[in-house]
Symmetry: C2
Subunit: 139 residues, 2 copies
């Protein structure tokens, strides 16, 4: 099957599939006319990649998962560990965003939001060292 069909079947953009070939995640054969020829096994890999990426695994993690996937002797525990690490990362990101949301919500609450030219949000951003918002500093 050509790249267009592979794209449709896998849910990955054509450009992305070519990119994945570039970085060695998939190695489709070539037809005589130079077109990429995707076998079912290639399509499997692409679907795997689509799914894993949509679950937030990085390209390098996908590479690792793929090699576990191909390795008939890999332990289920290895895959489980990678996934658990990923869950912890997701948890961390959620917590960060929730704290961010809290600060932003406080700012909006404190802001009268009319056409006056004083604004607590701007005040906070421009120094605000003595406002109620304590958790400044980079994450």
């Amino acid at each position: 099957m050509n790249i267009g069909a592979a794209s449709e079947q896998s849910g990955l953009p054509v450009k992305t599939i070519r990119y994945y070939e570039d970085i060695g995640l998939v190695r489709p054969a070539r037809s005589e006319n130079g077109y990429r020829e995707f076998l079912d096994s290639d399509l499997q890999r692409l679907k795997f990649l689509q799914r894993a990426r949509s679950l937030g695994f990085s390209i390098e993690e996908c590479r690792e998962l793929l090699s576990l996937y191909e390795d008939r002797n890999r332990a289920s525990a290895d895959v489980r560990e990678i996934t658990k690490t990923k869950i912890k990362e997701v948890d961390r990101k959620i917590a960060e965003l929730q704290s961010l949301k809290r600060v932003l919500s406080d700012l909006v609450k404190a802001c009268h939001g009319d056409d006056r030219t004083d604004c607590p949000i701007i005040d906070d951003l421009s120094g605000g060292l003595d406002t109620a918002f304590e958790d400044r500093g980079k994450s």
Copy 2:
């Protein structure tokens, strides 16, 4: 003050400050020796940027907020609107991550995690069209 002091005062890395100058977010004067000379007003901008970036505003949003910040006539309502839009974005990201976490947790729960070579996580990633996880497809 030199870039090193500005970095320390603002909490932004030296490289980042130079980058911000490149893209026109800050315009420090130059001393005779070619060194950047940061005035208090420059430092204000840098602190503003540090804070706004840490709150998840993009560079372009920071540019907008800065121009509102400089504009003595801007309405508080404008700033409030930008912030509210940002909160909605943060909410969306949190929801995405929570759904992602649910799927990953389900996978880990289903995975026996021993040294057997069958693994529900890999099974899910490699097609898994008839597993219990429904929300595949790109976000």
